[in-house]
């Protein structure tokens, strides 16, 4: 049984040309595997490389050497070696990334932001909106805000929208950065439950979290990073 993700000897360095070519090592010889249906928690201090690791998987960062073998619907592929179009295809169909902060597009309402992944797929707006409303309701976002513009919302409200968008269309692999940050305890539980629900549907999750409560209730396994190296 192939793992969903098999990361081998992954390296990532940044060369800052505008700082006279200064080199920063973000990841050094990272190796680990993620089985299908697992929930992995990446932990470590700021700058330890957790976000870099997730971004390498999502291909926002270009890795310098190593492999990220991913078991896609069309067989095993090395995410490091795929071309742009193949990555875009995977992002549309199998892999979702939820960043730490909601990226706000002006003039798009909260409901539209959440419904968008379904609308993009061609699902009717009535059905998409219904599902979006259901999720936002579960996450405790007041109905009055559904037609508001998220740029005006608080951090916690934005985070709820962020998570809602990530889970409305369950992907094969979900990369999620700090899913429960800025949330009160009740909402935290709701989010954790929703993510566990995704797992039941077959989604594999890699998440970054500082929050022990979340890690305890959500993840199967933790991977700890320090200065770009896995310490376990």
């Amino acid at each position: 049984m192939h793992p969903l993700l098999a990361i081998k000897h992954l390296n990532k360095t940044f060369t800052m040309h505008i700082l006279q070519g200064k080199i920063i090592e973000a990841l050094v010889d990272v190796n680990f595997e993620v089985a299908k249906g697992e929930i992995i928690g990446l932990t470590g201090k700021s700058g330890s490389g957790k976000s870099s690791l997730m971004k390498c998987i999502y291909r926002t960062y270009l890795s310098d050497g190593g492999n990220i073998n991913y078991h896609s619907n069309d067989g095993i592929v090395d995410l490091v070696a795929l071309n742009d179009f193949e990555i875009l295809h995977l992002r549309k169909t199998e892999i979702n990334y939820c960043s730490q902060f909601l990226s706000v597009i002006p003039r798009v309402t909260a409901l539209q932001v959440v419904a968008q992944p379904l609308l993009k797929k061609g699902i009717e707006s009535v059905i998409a909106n219904e599902k979006a409303m259901y999720i936002l309701n579960s996450l405790g976002l007041p109905e009055a805000l559904w037609s508001g513009f998220p740029v005006t919302f608080s951090g916690g409200e934005q985070q709820r929208i962020n998570v809602a968008r990530a889970i409305i269309d369950p992907p094969k692999l979900l990369l999620i950065d700090e899913p429960t940050a800025s949330l009160d305890p009740t909402t935290k539980d709701v989010v954790i439950e929703m993510l566990l629900g995704l797992k039941k549907q077959g989604t594999t999750i890699v998440c970054i979290s500082h929050d022990d409560y979340t890690l305890d209730h959500l993840v199967n396994r933790r991977i700890h990073l320090e200065k770009g190296i896995i310490i376990n």
Partner: protein, 282 residues
């Protein structure tokens, strides 16, 4: 379903445009390494050289760069606003499959422009005829595609104005009386009137007020999702690129210095120039 790499819509190979007389060294001695477009030996201006890229159906490609980078030149050549380009451009639509459209007759080029491409310029005066009503401007595109029924033309034009959120009552008004944002939206209506598979947007929000800019960009994003049109978005503004595009080409002195996924370009830029651009975002 796997991604099919033969399924591209537009393929550009070796696209080059030089003003003046070039010699064998003109291309080699210009570009980002020399920080110049001007050939030191003949004073020829290399507007762009050796441009290679592919565009897939429904994809949004951004081209970013500063003045003199050649980004507008590329789009002008693809839309045949500019002549005498070297290189090859292949459009994967019948009856042009396998043909370098740069070498097609003027008649064919006109047909390609009318039926397969749309263009939105920075200045509405370049894309609209200010002597015609907004409906008349859209009608021009519809007539070029062979619609000679006034009733149908007006219905289609009304639909398009609704789609771009221009008040339908202004169908018979002259664009000269519209605000800048509305003029751009009429331009967009006109450009998509024939449901082209490819749309060019050349600095379409530069110069507009910020709130208007947001409205226009949002509209473009919505239309792209609804109609699945492939787009090439030219901008010097990285936030426009970030908002609209999947992939981006970064240009300097007429060359592509980096191309990749937009989020990679913005968050992990490799080339020194790209790093400079990205770090300069306010």
């Amino acid at each position: 379903m796997k991604h099919n790499s033969e399924n591209w819509l537009l393929k550009v190979e070796g696209l080059t445009k030089i003003y003046g007389t070039a010699n064998a060294n003109s291309i080699e001695k210009t570009g980002p390494l020399y920080d110049s477009n001007i050939c030191p030996e003949t004073n020829a201006i290399v507007a762009c050289a050796d441009i290679n890229f592919e565009l897939f159906p429904g994809e949004v490609l951004g081209i970013v760069g500063e003045s003199g980078s050649g980004k507008s030149t590329i789009v002008k050549m693809l839309y045949f606003d500019m002549e005498h380009a070297d290189g090859s451009v292949f459009f994967n639509k019948e009856p042009y499959i396998g043909k370098n459209i740069l070498k097609e007759s003027n008649q064919s080029k006109r047909a390609i422009r009318n039926h397969l491409m749309g263009m939105v310029y920075q200045n509405p005066r370049d894309g609209l005829n200010f002597k015609f009503t907004s409906g008349g401007n859209i009608a021009e595109k519809l007539i070029m595609a062979g619609n000679y029924h006034v009733g149908t033309i007006r219905d289609k034009a009304t639909n398009l104005l609704e789609k771009t959120e221009v008040p339908v009552l202004r169908l018979d008004d002259l664009p000269a009386h519209f605000s800048g944002g509305m003029q751009q939206r009429v331009q967009i209506s006109k450009a998509i009137a024939n449901h082209p598979p490819l749309l060019f947007l050349d600095e379409v929000t530069t110069g507009l007020d910020v709130s208007v800019q947001a409205k226009v960009l949002d509209l473009i994003r919505e239309l792209q999702q609804e109609l699945g049109i492939a787009m090439i978005v030219v901008s010097h503004d990285l936030s426009v690129i970030r908002m609209l595009t999947d992939r981006t080409l970064v240009m300097k002195n007429g060359r592509i210095v980096e191309q990749g996924l937009t989020d990679q370009i913005l968050q992990d830029p490799q080339h020194p120039y790209t790093q400079l651009l990205v770090s300069s975002i306010l």
